[in-house]
Each structure stands twice: as structure tokens, then as C-alpha cells.
Symmetry: C2
Subunit: 213 residues, 2 copies
Amino acid sequence: MKSASRQSRYNHGMSHAPAVDFWFEFASTYSYPAAMRIAALAQGSGVAVRWRPFLLGPIFKAQGWDDSPFNIYPGKGRYMWRDLERICTPLDLPFRQPRPFPQNTLLAARVALVALAQDWGEDYCRAVYRAEFGEGRNVGEPSAIADILIALGQSAGAVIEQAQADTAKAALRAQTEQAQRLGIFGAPSFVTADGELFWGNDRLEAALAWAKR
Amino acid sequence: MKSASRQSRYNHGMSHAPAVDFWFEFASTYSYPAAMRIAALAQGSGVAVRWRPFLLGPIFKAQGWDDSPFNIYPGKGRYMWRDLERICTPLDLPFRQPRPFPQNTLLAARVALVALAQDWGEDYCRAVYRAEFGEGRNVGEPSAIADILIALGQSAGAVIEQAQADTAKAALRAQTEQAQRLGIFGAPSFVTADGELFWGNDRLEAALAWAKR
């Protein structure tokens, strides 16, 4: 499996370089600015980043939620949309509240695992976030994912077929289970090589600083 | 009522100066670093701060919670304690996890309303937070509040008697209802003169910057 071989290279070859695992879910609102910011910030501080897509659904379900907490608690939801807008503006990130919210990100995440085993994975992830939160597209629709793949010069049909194969499905399940074992309860989360957990776009800088200690 | 006359002075005399309302709850963990940081930061940026104690209990109850979300969701709770420790260390703020958690902050908040109508109110609030999260004391015990008042040179008996009078009780209820009307769902929260809401210790700087726009 490509993602496993990649993981193994990472663990063995870079174990002494500062590194952060970036755990993200495509439906997660605050993962959008984090995904758009992390590459430049990490490069600037000499920290390697491993992109780790996972699903929040099973983790929320274990907490008794069958929907986004931003829908379950409307006051928190209203605040979040406004807060996200305030965060995106100075970053020059386009922002549109996606409908529906949250979106079904199963296919998007499976494709991410395929993509991240190749050199266009991070571009793909950023393109998904831009489509969803910058353009308000529904990335739960396979056609939206296909459009993104085509724009990246990929063969959409072949990639989606690979993403729907049993190995990719199992890889995403395993990744989500690992997130749960790490104590991850929301996204984005950042985990340093020594196991320190940081939660939220607003903890990205702290996670990078910790990784460099 | 002292707090009302103070509020009226504030609204009429300073309506054009940058100002932020600092909404806090003594049981709120992230309100501790916010309370310790806000005076110097606000002074440095020329923003006036009005300290607004309130109770989260009724607001959490309206969301269906009868306990702190950090107890209801243990993973989130474990993370919060660690995160708070990481925040306090570089600020040189002593930190001890208080037991029990959360504490009963009804008396502490009523006394705060009395104190904030006088010139030692902010010192009192910081002393409560220091006792609770710096020394691990139970500020739900009237003796802890009395000790704090005595250390501030106040007549503990007289102040506590005033705080338990109907006017003080009604003032805290009104303040909590106002927080709810403002859309506040957690603490600390900051509200600017133009009604912009910021939630969390990590939004303090953003709130001050907004107030100065």
C-alpha cells in the first residue's frame, strides 16, 4: 500500500528532523485556513509536515454527536462562521459558507490518501478546501472531486477507482482509528514526534514551535 | 446599584474610546490566562476594558449540559488541561488543576460585582483566579473568598453580606442574561463596542485589534 510505504520512509528516514503530523478532515471549517497556511509556515521554520486526512464522523459519534457540533449548538455555529470569515480576510483566503454543511467527505478523504502517496497530494488537499470553503462547492459530489483531479492533470476515473478500492477504504479506516488512539477529538490537530497534541488552526504556530524544541 | 451607575458612566463618558467588554466566569479555565493578561495588553493598545463576570451554568444548561464540557467529553478535558499548562508556562503563571472542577463560583461572581464597582475589583478577580488555578484552592468555599478579601484589605464580612443581598443577586442574574442575549456561549468572551464577539483566551489580541479599528 502506497501510504504505508510512505509512512515507513518517513519514520525511518526523518526521525530526528523536526516533524509534525497534520490531521485534517475536509468537512472541518478551521482545517481550511490551517491547510492553506501550514506549508509555508512549516517550511519557514524547518519542520517537516505529514498530511493525515481522517474522518471526524466516527469520533463525533463516539462523543454522542450525529452532526457537526456547530449545527448541534447554533450559537457556537453562528460564532464559528463569523470567526472563520475574520480569519480568512487578512489571509486573503476567499470564503463562502458551504451548503450543505457538513459535507460528506468520504470520497474526498479516500482520494487524498491516494494523492498523498504521490507528489500532487498537498495540491489536491488545498484544491478541495478551496472548492468547498472558497467557492462554496459541494465536495461531497463525485463530480466536484473529478473536476479537481482533472484541473490537477490527473486521470479522474483511474484515481477515483483506486480510491474506492478496498485497500484505500481500509487505509482511511486505519488512519481514523489511529487519530482516535492519539486522543484526537477535532480538526485540525497537530501531533509532534514526541506525541504532543495541538488542536485548532490557532495552535499551528505553537505546534511548529514545539516540534523544533 | 453601584454596578449600574458605573456602567452608565462608562457608556456616556467613553463611548468613542476603543473599548472591550471582558466576559468571564471564575470556573472557566481559559479565563485564567485571559484575566491575567488583559490589563497590560489593553493598556498597551489604548483599549478600555470593562470586566463582566457572569455564570456559564445557565448558558450550558440551555445547551443541554449539566456539567463542564471538559468533564462531559473527557478527551477534550485531558487536552484542555495540558493546553492550559502549555499556555501558562511561558507566561510565568503558576498552574495547578483545581479539585473539584468545575467549582461553584456563585459567591465569587457576586462578590466580583460588588468589587468591580470599587477600585479594587480587578485585583480581586485576579486574586480569585490565582487562588483557584495557581494554588489549586476551592474558591467555592466562602472561607477562600474571605481570605482573598482580607488579603486585599477589605472587610470580608461586610463585602460578602453586600454580595448576598438581593440587589447583587439580581445584578448577576441580569448580567448572565445579557451575556446570553449577546450570543455568548463560553468564556472568556470579548465584545467590542460595535458588538463583535470573540471567544477564547487566544482571541484576546484579535478583540483588542478590532476595538481599535
